[in-house]
Subunit: 384 residues, 2 copies
Amino acid sequence: MNSPIKYELIKESSETKARLGKIHTPHGEIETPIFMPVGTRATVKAMTPEELKEINAQIILSNTYHLYLKPGHDIVEEAGGLHKFMNWDRPILTDSGGFQVFSLGNMRKINEDGVEFKSHIDGSKHFITPEKSIEIQNALGSDIMMAFDECVSYPSDWHYVKDSMERTTRWAKRCKDANKNPDKQAIFGIIQGGMYKDLREQSARELLELDFPGYAVGGLSVGEPADILMQVLDYTVPLMPADKPRYFMGAGSPDYLIELAIRGIDMADCVLPTRIARNGTVMTSRGKVVIRNAKHKRDFTPLDPECSCYACKNYSKAYIRHLFNVDEILGSRLATIHNLHFLIKLMEDLRESIREDRVLEFRRDFYLKYGGFDYLGKLDNYRL
Amino acid sequence: MNSPIKYELIKESSETKARLGKIHTPHGEIETPIFMPVGTRATVKAMTPEELKEINAQIILSNTYHLYLKPGHDIVEEAGGLHKFMNWDRPILTDSGGFQVFSLGNMRKINEDGVEFKSHIDGSKHFITPEKSIEIQNALGSDIMMAFDECVSYPSDWHYVKDSMERTTRWAKRCKDANKNPDKQAIFGIIQGGMYKDLREQSARELLELDFPGYAVGGLSVGEPADILMQVLDYTVPLMPADKPRYFMGAGSPDYLIELAIRGIDMADCVLPTRIARNGTVMTSRGKVVIRNAKHKRDFTPLDPECSCYACKNYSKAYIRHLFNVDEILGSRLATIHNLHFLIKLMEDLRESIREDRVLEFRRDFYLKYGGFDYLGKLDNYRL
């Protein structure tokens, strides 16, 4: 059977593991490395699909756990699937619900079959199995579905991580068997194993046997120090197939997105840019700006003079600060547009630097302006 | 001196006092009768200027009291005026601050010079005079400024209303004298006099002597029954000059907008459509719809099948209900776009019916579908 998801390698960096590629999906192509905005509840907060397209968002992520609870995947299915329900005709990736079951659900009990938990909204009791997760994602109709896994916390004991990782692999097999729409919806396997190299190796080896069309690195960004995260990636990414997309779950700061890409990651997502936007923090070419700060009261320049987004073309810091000071929705809208545009443009520039084989130069120049040069220089063996 | 605001009469209804016209302003023309969306704090809540243009908003209103307190009119002036600050290049009308001083300010004390009050935000003490109100509005740079008046509550004693109205007239003269930018910014006088015909007559007569380029009817929509409001209008509007715009302060329901227009009103504004939108109530050709209602859970039709707005073209009731259920900003955005589009389209259709001299037929057909037929039929002498 043909996979609905295909990875096309375009160019590899000679200095790093960064790679330029394309992922072909039933709803069009995406260029990698890519950042994926998160539309938790069938909407990227404060944005319309047209605004996402205006800033060149190529794919969005949505959350199985949240849509299962509200409005219910049956309603999304009746609407004609998530694309139609939310008016987005480009690719969608849905997570498995596993992460939220473990981080938001209460009183969870794991057994071989699945996880019982109580809804964080109303305390109602639910039981999610690998089959149920895929049933929900099939109803949503996402292009890329994620296998149902356990994301273990940090730090965790080797024996616990091993047991959990082996169960995650058995669950991945069940997810694959449960997919009722394999010619339109692909499943990505998730490599677990915590911070243990031998367990990451075992996880990758066993999941690769299941021949998923893409793989994610899970169980990172769970509170471990940045250098440990990067070490795990340094030995895990080479275990992943070169002819399939590699997805890192949960990174949305500019420095992490760059560090992941030079380690060979193709896709990443995070709520960070939209969440900090609604709190009035924006990312700019010179670092973060807290817009409520009194020093912007009479600052009639844009959020970022180097930015070409709708917010920067039309509004001043003084105006956007005013909007946040009086709790106006337009403030959240403008900051969200700006932050997502910033990360999407960052990835476009990063891809261009891979194409021209000057990734390390791009990275150094970015850190020198944005900040983080000293710290990030110690994370790895790439000289800045 | 030439007034920056000129009214052009295009056609009068033969059946009613409705009239089709154009108002020429320094930022372009507006067609009347018109509904003006309210942008209280230099933003029409949840909307961008481009979205307002997409639904054909021709003029917006903003609030002097709110902008004086935050961010401060000095900052708006430094930004280059309100048009530039908020990125809106079409006409703007600003109220005088009087209504908010009396409805929101605490501990207010009126004397001949002006009004002392405490800010509703931080309790700080302020003193607004007619000169100060115009100074603020000059700093904002609105096309139409309103004279500083006292809007008396309902019911009020004849003697109180007479004293207040006469002071409002003296204040109007002071406003006129205080205008530092008379060739770019016009002032409208506000006819007061409560529910007393003799006082309305006195107010109109004395204000007309000041030769403002437009007049408003103030002191209505303050809690009086609808039939009293209509009676006051029936005898007040004929006192107003036929060659100048007539503005009714505070009406935003479809029935009121129609009833005002057939009584000869050209302009009206209200926060109602945007406020109820954010609470999930939308106006449709068949009456109001409360979108959170469980009956819309599986309703995959638009808010209003007869509507061509962005929300109705792209989203279902089920989706918008979901957005409100999970408190997503996009819900408020879509409902706001819809409600403003609904009223602006209503006024377009109403203008067309004046042009074709079939206002009463238009009115009857609207009420038969929207509701309110029986009640509204009793309000006046126009047979439905």
